[in-house]
Amino acid sequence: MKKIILTMGCLLGLSMSSIAAEDAVSSLLKSYQAEGASAASAEQGKQQWQQKQGDRSCVDCHGTDLTQAGKHVRTSKVIQAMAPSVNPKRLSDAKKIEKWFKRNCKWTYDRVCSAQEKANFLTFLKGQ
């Protein structure tokens, strides 16, 4: 009996955390659609992630394998893994996601990312 309750509890907990992640990402995806983005594509997101614009890309700091920690290209500070599969805190807070989009798009691309780009990024990242 204890085992069953424990298992149910774990499953519930896990599903709740993934629901939480879903909540942040899906609510943001809805808002991007409202801003005019069409269907988001994980494949596009991956391309964006790896493509250099100017002389910088996301890979420079976050690395190509998102299950590994990255390193800030200027300061060498360790950046925790981006993949939600190894780092459940990633993509769980909508405010944080927006903040980092604002900061990092500015530094990496020297401009704001469009709603479409952000939608693609999120769709790509949540599957990592």
Binding site: H72, K77, K106
Partner: protein, 362 residues
């Protein structure tokens, strides 16, 4: 004439351990990477001195201070005797040697105490931690150096005197301090070896040496703030506020451009962080680094810590190749070499070059 034991084992052990610890302390002086060795040698030296004090009261006959020929007249007579190359015979130390012994011991005590004061004031470590300001620590550093230089002179005289005495007495005094025996009339009062005391002394010295050497530095936590640490530590090390004057922090947070990135702080966060920064800035002199930065940074202060005169002076001998090394990458990456960078202390003893790097300049 026969071989008579004059210098017992504890005394001889004391003497040579003193030589060893002084030499080790000398060799490890001035280089921040060897501070643990320097402290370990210094504490052993102090322990040896304390032993000598006790032994001088309770020890074997020739070790006792009360049997040292210290009367001034005797010293004058002995000096005259040296000039005539005919000195009165003393079984243990002669009058001049006795005064030299006391002077040496006294200076060595002062050397130890001044060293502990530097440690307490500048490094905020050790027995006097928290009792002295960095300014006082710095003053004691000058005293420590001055005493060391006096000792260099005195020790040179000591060594010369040993040779002169050996010649005048036709007796190998160095050998005597190694074996303990001098060739003397049978009636001379002998010492006893006392091996157990010597064993205890040796054991004690080794314990202190190893204990001090391996003791991790004892940090008091510096002022900290969760919001500051979380926000300012996102892209780089959260540089402790004590590393820049308050005016520099104010200027830095007054603009959105943060070294080519956007600070992007909401007002509430900015207020809290700015308050924390200005309240704990270099003016507080919480650490040696803070104090030196406060003393030497001009107004208006540079916003980059690496542009402060103190930083530049401290890192002037670091080769460019070290900054380019993949484990370092940038001058802003303090934590690559400073193991206590996160805590904000930047103590000398917590500095290690990553093992894969050699610094050609040093």
């Amino acid at each position: 004439m026969q071989a008579v034991l004059i210098w017992d084992l504890p005394l001889r052990l004391f003497h040579w351990l003193l030589v060893l610890s002084f030499a080790l302390a000398w060799g490890s002086a001035g280089d921040d990477r060897y501070l643990n060795l320097h402290l370990s040698a210094g504490y052993v030296l102090l322990a040896l001195l304390l032993f000598r004090l006790v032994w001088g009261i309770y020890g074997g006959h020739h070790a006792r201070f009360k049997f040292l020929p210290l009367k001034i007249q005797l010293a004058i007579d002995y000096a005259k005797g040296i000039a005539r190359q005919q000195t009165p015979h003393y079984v243990g130390h002669n009058p001049l040697g006795s005064w030299a012994v006391l002077l040496l011991l006294g200076l060595l005590f002062l050397l130890s105490f001044s060293g502990i004061s530097v440690l307490g004031g500048e490094e905020r470590q050790g027995l006097l931690k928290g009792w002295l300001s960095p300014a006082m620590g710095d003053w004691f550093r000058h005293v420590h150096l001055l005493i060391f230089q006096s000792l260099q002179i005195l020790l040179s005289l000591h060594i010369i005197a040993v040779f002169i005495e050996s010649y005048l007495q036709q007796s190998n005094l160095i050998k005597a301090m190694l074996t303990g025996y001098k060739s003397l009339p049978e009636t001379s009062k002998a010492s006893r070896q006392q091996p157990w005391v010597a064993a205890l002394l040796l054991f004690g010295s080794i314990s202190i040496a190893l204990g001090v050497y391996h003791q991790p530095a004892n940090y008091e936590p510096l002022p900290d703030n969760q919001v500051w640490r979380a926000y300012c530590g996102e892209c780089h090390l959260a540089y402790h506020p004590s590393l820049l004057p308050a005016a520099a922090w104010q200027a830095m947070l007054a603009q959105d451009d943060h070294f080519e990135e956007a600070l992007d702080m909401d007002e509430a966060t900015a207020l809290e962080i700015l308050a924390f920064l200005t309240e704990n800035a270099a003016e507080t002199a919480l650490t040696e680094a803070a104090w030196k930065i406060k003393q030497t940074t001009p107004t208006p202060a540079p916003l980059r810590i690496t542009k402060t005169p103190h930083w530049q002076e401290q890192h002037q001998h670091v080769a460019e190749s070290v900054w380019q090394h993949p484990q370092v990458i940038s001058r802003s990456n303090c934590a690559a070499c400073h193991q206590d960078a996160e805590q904000g202390w930047f103590q000398d003893s917590a500095m290690r070059l990553p093992s894969s790097i050699t610094n050609e300049d040093s």
